[in-house]
């Protein structure tokens, strides 16, 4: 194999790569915030709601988790375009990613809620706490803390999934890579570099989320134990 590796594109295109990485990060952070809120809300509906809303959430989760993100993104993006609704690619991407990650988040948080011993719920009831207070002060904080590692993994996976949004014209990192590749024909080197950038970003995301967890979960911080 007499292929000459050529990484010179780095000197000319490094700024584009950074722009792409930055967009990826912004897309991910927006999705984490919206996806988490939506996921927790649906988990509450799923465990506490009336039969009909509960079933609707179950269907929603089943549909989203048994179809690929790509198809969901295409359905949304091309569908909106076909009915003449102008949505910027970044917004469409965040919407598709949020819907997708919320289905997985719901299941994770729901599992967490179901591990809270019934005795605590009874005790909270007997202190005359309202349903809403019980959820927000006793149940959800513990459920989220218990399932936090699973949530971190889910959100990192989601950040990696932003890569496919290149297919709906979002200018994130993978899309930038494709553009540079079509100009310089150095596909292999380019995607090796991009792979490294994703590695660094996922490591950073994990670290950041672990840090947020260490601050938010006071008990764990002070005692060093998990619930």
């Amino acid at each position: 194999m007499d292929y000459q590796f050529d990484f010179s594109f780095l000197t000319s295109h490094w700024r584009d790569l950074l722009d792409g990485a930055w967009l990826t990060l912004r897309m991910s952070l927006a999705t984490i915030v919206f996806g988490f809120v939506l996921g927790v809300t649906l988990a509450v509906v799923r465990t506490q709601g009336a039969p009909l809303p509960r079933r609707l959430v179950t269907w929603y989760v089943d549909v989203i988790r048994n179809t690929p993100l790509v198809i969901q993104a295409f359905w949304l993006f091309f569908g909106l375009a076909a009915i003449q609704v102008r949505v910027p690619a970044m917004a469409a991407a965040v919407i598709a990613l949020t819907i997708n990650v919320s289905a997985y988040t719901t299941e994770i948080v729901r599992a967490g809620i179901e591990t809270i011993p019934k005795g605590q719920v009874e005790a909270a009831e007997c202190l005359a706490l309202t349903r809403w207070q019980m959820l927000s002060v006793v149940v959800l904080p513990q459920a989220v803390e218990r399932m936090y590692p699973a949530l971190i993994s889910q959100f990192v996976l989601m950040m990696l999934a932003t890569s496919i949004m290149s297919q709906i014209s979002a200018e994130e990192l993978t899309a930038i890579g494709y553009r540079i590749q079509s100009e310089t024909f150095r596909g292999f080197e380019i995607y090796i570099v991009i792979a490294v950038v994703y590695l660094v970003m996922s490591w950073l995301l994990r670290l950041t989320m672990a840090g947020v967890g260490a601050v938010a979960f006071t008990r764990r911080r002070r005692l060093g134990t998990s619930i």
Partner: protein, 214 residues
Amino acid sequence: MFGISIDQLLFIVKGAGWTLVLSAMGFVGGALIGLPLALARSRGGRALKAITGLYVQLVQGIPLPVIMFVAYFGISISGFDLPALVAAGLAMTAYAGAYLGEIWKGCIQAVPRTQWEAAECIALKPLQRVLYVILPQAARIAVAPTVGFLVQIIKNSSYAVVIGFFDLTYSARVVNNSTFRPFAVFTVAALIYFAICYPLSSLSYRLERRLARR
């Protein structure tokens, strides 16, 4: 029907066929890598664990589309002119191998320590212990999560669309480009994926419940 002709529907179904082929390739290839990987990561020495750990970290930290691109361009610079299926198959194998390895490592570690001791105490050699005592038990634990991961493989095979591999997603995209009926086309594609994945997901869930009950 809904602006899609029968020919176009068949076209999409043909793509679905290739999705199944790619998924099977990924699963089989992944299993061939995953089993030795699981054994190495649960019982191997420090160096072995470090190397295999690196492999897993790489796969778990790089998006699958990017792995597909690396495989695709890697093959072409090696001088081979191979169809996209090969690149996609290699990428899926690398991807599935890492994840199956981790899942199966967990299942092996879930077999209680005491089983290893008992096997040792009836004078079985290491390979025999693994083969006759540990793996059968680990396999029972592994069925549910493995079926669950198979669903992931089938869904994630859709990422092969980035290297132009003719799978269900790609064929749907092509039909959409000619009919401009995205809701209909992609709903059909979603239904096909759902029809394949949902029964497997339910099976995995039921298997998990049955295991928990015992």
